[in-house]
């Protein structure tokens, strides 16, 4: 595995920096630009000098180009949007408050950043700190890389490394001028941030147990690595309308890689041909979460190993050519696959594949497979008999046997995916001492050590405990997954991390008395409908929403039930209802109690929830969905992990538009109800009736909004839609600040559908869109009342 720290030379890479500069004739590449010193800091100069020649040459050139662009942007010589995409393609994201404003619970205030005219993208101030995503292909890191990450977190961030839901590492509060040094220091240990964000191929993920899992068909690590290297910076992945995510799994049934939620996914498969075993993949395409989730479709049951990169390239070209570009809400490949149908998509890909010019790199990697075979540094050994009760708890929850006798996988549960620089450094030493010299990140935001011998388990436990990394919760209900949410994400509606922290603490206290079936449920939380926390594939999922209660806006989470992590994320959950943030811990308790009391013999939690059905479920939770009046319990009006009142009470409070608002509210509530009923009918298998009701719910919500201006609005759907278009769409009042006209479009699309002829899939989508439309109507109402 030694070579992995220093990546093999990369193929031809389109240099975005050079491209933009070439296009701008007015800018001459002068000597001074080549030696640009953007941060003006001595530190940046030292790193540049010290590391030049110590990075892969292609990466070094890219970072130099990026640094030049940074300087040009600071001088106002690069367009806003162009620089924003360029920085995103290097993983440098915006962060909450980067437009220079923050609400302190009473009023919105200027943060007061210096040079407010200086920006690093549309509406993004230069000096506002940002998030840096760092690509960790297949989640693999060696100790040197871990130490550099720890150092970068200290020097450029706040000494916290955050593991994401796609096996990356993120640093927050990073100043844009520190990014070139940060990139150079990473590149010098074989890590790139290229295409960690932006419209391109994101981190290639894989099971963290690849190579040691007893259930896998074969080790997918070399293939995931080959995909990462081949596609990184490839010209065919530079012109996507949206991001593209790839995952590899060693087996079909487990939850470790979640292939079915991905744009392109590979599940290891073998075939016998003429007495020989051939390796290949079951290939899936067109999955994705987000506001409108799709399960990936099976493209081919067996793509041989020599051809999988050719397919990946052909699919990339088709996506770049035919994928939506203008409307970013329909730009993921899932929409293309869905619009065309898998058969047409397949035909187009096969045609494209036959036209591709041969590239030796399609199969070169097969000669380098050896370097990925991790070898233990110690001989296998038996476990010691240890009676220590804490050790036994940890052993039972966090340790599993490897395929290789005498070796074990040790999982480290990271609270909220966070680890401090000191812990990361100490852990790097333990990786050297106890494993084969590698650690992996997981989609559960945890870390995984492999090749630990039985004889070492207890001493490793003691050393992990000494650095507070031996919590016995890996893979349990306590090990909650959460996106960044309102802590740092610009789009966050409710505090996913705040809630996750509270839930973790709450559930940890009870975890040892819990029934086994409850203990191993998965909870996943997103701060908004974008689903970065992957709540669709959780046993109990939540995503952030807000609700207006009287004159206040109250943080809520939509409860999502019935999702499936197993089978590579094989089933998506459906929304049940909005729960006030502060009532979520009680809701989780209630769900557990209901199951324990009501389950039949041998019934799993998922089966119980299915048997109970949505109506019963909602009925059992209805008291928790109520928000007590402010005077009775003001804590409901402040989110978790915050001390500010959730939103502007003073604006809503003194308003005399109360009556009209309440008419609107009434309409929205009715829409909510109709949407819920449509789900119940859907479950009974009556699709056209369910679809009709889902559409009606959208019309009711639109009608509700119109009532703000015209209480005598028509009851005729056609007339409602026309008035809705005039009042809310032409004027853009209904348009979401981030998603734009996306939700408005869905009602007009539904209007054109023949609802008598819908199938299960179309109905499910319509119900989903109807929920989102209603959510958008709530949000629109909140915006209007704030302005009014």
């Amino acid at each position: 595995m030694k070579n992995l720290a220093w990546p093999a030379p990369l193929g031809p890479v389109l240099s975005m920096g050079a491209f933009f500069i070439a296009k701008r004739e007015s800018i001459q590449m002068t000597e001074s630009l080549k030696n640009i010193d953007v941060a003006g800091s001595e530190s940046a100069r030292i790193w540049k000098k010290r590391l030049t020649g110590r990075m892969p040459p292609v990466w070094e050139k890219e970072i130099d180009d990026y640094e030049t662009e940074l300087t040009l942007k600071k001088q106002g010589k690069i367009e806003e949007k162009v620089f924003a995409e360029s920085r995103l393609r290097r993983g440098a994201y915006g962060q909450r408050y980067d437009h220079g404003k923050r609400h302190d619970g009473k009023q919105e205030r200027d943060v007061g950043f210096p040079d407010p005219h200086l920006t690093k993208g549309p509406n993004t101030l230069w000096h506002a700190p940002g998030m840096q995503r760092i690509k960790i292909p297949w989640g693999g890191m060696n100790p040197e890389q871990m130490e550099v990450l720890a150092e970068l977190a200290e020097e450029y961030s706040d000494a916290i490394c955050h593991v994401t839901t796609r096996q990356d590492i993120q640093l927050h509060f990073v100043h844009i001028e520190d990014t070139p040094s940060l990139f150079r220091r990473l590149a010098a240990v074989g890590i790139t941030t290229r295409e960690a964000c932006g419209n391109s191929v994101r981190n290639v993920t894989a099971c963290p147990y690849a190579g040691v899992c007893p259930d896998e068909t074969f080790d997918t690590t070399p293939y995931a690595d080959a995909a990462f290297r081949y596609l990184l910076g490839h010209p065919d992945v530079q012109d996507f309308g949206r991001k593209f995510k790839i995952a590899f799994s060693g087996c079909k049934d487990s939850a470790c890689a979640l292939v079915r939620i991905h744009d392109l996914g590979f599940i290891a498969a073998i075939r016998s041909e003429n007495g020989k075993t051939r390796r290949g993949f079951e290939m899936y395409v067109g999955g994705g979460l987000g506001a409108v989730p799709y399960q990936a479709k099976l493209f081919d049951e067996f793509v041989p190993e020599e051809e999988f990169l050719i397919y990946a390239q052909a699919i990339s070209r088709i996506f770049a050519r035919y994928g939506e570009k203008k409307n970013r809400n329909r730009a993921r490949i899932k929409f293309l696959v869905n619009d065309w149908g898998i058969e047409k998509f397949k035909q187009m890909v096969l045609e494209e594949k036959s036209k591709l010019k041969t590239d030796s790199r399609w199969t070169d990697y097969l000669q380098k497979m050896e370097q990925f075979i991790e070898k233990p540094t110690k001989l296998p050994s038996d476990e010691l008999t240890v009676t220590d009760a804490s050790y036994q708890k940890w052993r039972a929850q966090n340790v599993t046997a490897q395929r290789q006798n005498g070796f074990f996988v040790v999982k480290i549960s990271l609270p909220l995916g966070d680890i401090t620089s000191n812990q990361m450094r100490a852990l790097a030493d333990l990786v050297r001492k106890y494993s084969s010299g590698f650690i992996r990140t997981s989609v559960e935001q945890d870390l995984v050590l492999r090749w630990v011998t039985g004889g070492d388990l207890f001493s490793l436990y003691q050393e992990l405990e000494a650095i507070d990394l031996a919590e016995p919760y890996a893979g349990s209900i306590v090990d909650v997954t959460a996106c960044p949410g309102t802590d740092t994400c610009k789009l966050g509606v409710s505090s996913s991390r705040g809630l996750a922290g509270v839930l973790r603490e709450h559930l940890a206290k009870k975890s040892f008395e819990m029934d086994e079936a409850i203990k191993n449920l998965r909870v996943k939380i997103s701060g908004c409908f974008n689903s970065c926390g992957q709540q669709h594939v959780a046993d109990i999922g939540f995503y952030g929403i807000s609700r207006k209660v009287g004159a206040y806006v109250v943080p809520h989470f939509q409860l999502v039930m019935g999702g499936q992590t197993r089978d590579n994320g094989g089933g998506y959950g459906m929304p049940i209802g909005g729960i006030p943030s502060k009532a979520v811990p009680k809701t989780v308790d209630r769900l557990a109690e209901m199951y324990l009391k009501g389950k039949q013999k041998g019934e799993t939690f998922q089966d119980y929830i299915r048997r109970l059905g949505k109506v019963e479920l909602k009925k059992n939770l209805s008291d928790l969905m109520e928000v007590p009046p402010y005077e009775q319990d003001p804590s409901y009006y402040v989110d978790w992990g915050d001390v500010r009142e959730y939103t502007t009470s003073d604006i809503g409070k003194g308003e005399c538009a109360g009556e009209i608002v309440s008419l609107v509210e009434f309409g929205l509530k009715a829409a909510d109800r109709e949407n819920f009923e449509s789900q119940v009918i859907f479950e009974k298998g009556n699709y056209s009736q369910a679809a009709a009701l889902a559409y009606k719910a959208m019309v009711t919500a639109a009608q509700g909004l119109i009532k703000k201006f015209n209480p005598d609005v028509s009851e005729e759907p056609e007339a409602v839609l026309k008035e809705f278009n005039d009042r809310f769409c032409e004027t853009k009042i209904f348009y979401d600040p981030f998603a734009g006209p996306k939700f408005a479009h869905s009602i007009f699309a539904a209007q054109k559908m023949d609802l008598t002829q819908v199938n299960q899939d179309q109905t499910r989508k319509l119900i989903e869109e109807s929920s989102l439309f209603i959510e958008a109507a709530y949000a629109c109402n909140i915006r209007m009342s704030m302005q009014g």
Partner: protein, 188 residues
């Protein structure tokens, strides 16, 4: 040496009294109407051996911090400092002392917070400018000495260069004399 990214730590007498939730609340009150640019408060009380609650600023961060298992107030200067080395040491040290004094006097804590004023830690949060080596210590000592002399008096203090090569350059300063925070602020 163009010294930058100066950090200071000052420790609590009774660490159990310095609770993350309290700091989260108090730091939030520092944001509005502050002459300094403060952006947000980050909560990291779920992790160990690092920051617990951070008031994120533009020029500097202030944190309730437990790095190396000692709870203290961390001041972390992030932007470029002007002046000579002595000036930079003096201004940053004054900032952490004033912040500590402000916390002590905050009515929210009802007089429960106390700092150990006879011990300070200086960290240079930049491995390029200040590698953790003897040379850095030698280069910095004369200026650091001058500042400490004005604070604790001739011979009233000792330096301990923390030489862990994997960690940032750091010096612990221990004084034989104890002064109150306002006294130290005045002396500096």
């Amino acid at each position: 040496m163009n010294l930058q990214k100066i950090n200071w730590r000052i420790f609590f007498k009774d660490p159990a009294e310095a609770r993350p939730d309290d700091f989260f609340r108090v730091f939030n009150t520092w944001i509005p109407d502050s002459p300094e640019i403060f952006i947000d408060v980050a909560d990291y009380q779920h992790v160990h051996d690092g920051p617990l609650t951070v008031l994120i600023g533009h020029f500097a961060d202030y944190a309730l911090d437990e790095t190396d298992r000692r709870r203290g107030l961390l001041y972390s200067c992030k932007r470029s400092l002007e002046g000579d080395t002595g000036d930079k040491i003096r201004t940053t040290l004054a900032s952490v002392l004033k912040a500590a004094d402000r916390l002590v006097k905050d009515p929210f804590f009802e007089g429960r917070l106390h700092f150990l004023t006879n011990e300070l830690e200086l960290i240079i949060n930049d491995r390029a400018i200040a590698p953790n080596e003897d040379e850095t210590f030698s280069a910095l000592s004369p200026d650091l000495n001058r500042v400490m002399k004005s604070l604790y008096g001739e011979g009233g203090y000792q330096f301990n260069h923390l030489k862990n090569p994997k960690k940032r350059f750091a010096v612990r300063i221990a004084s034989t004399k104890t002064f109150s925070l306002p006294e130290l602020i005045q002396k500096i």
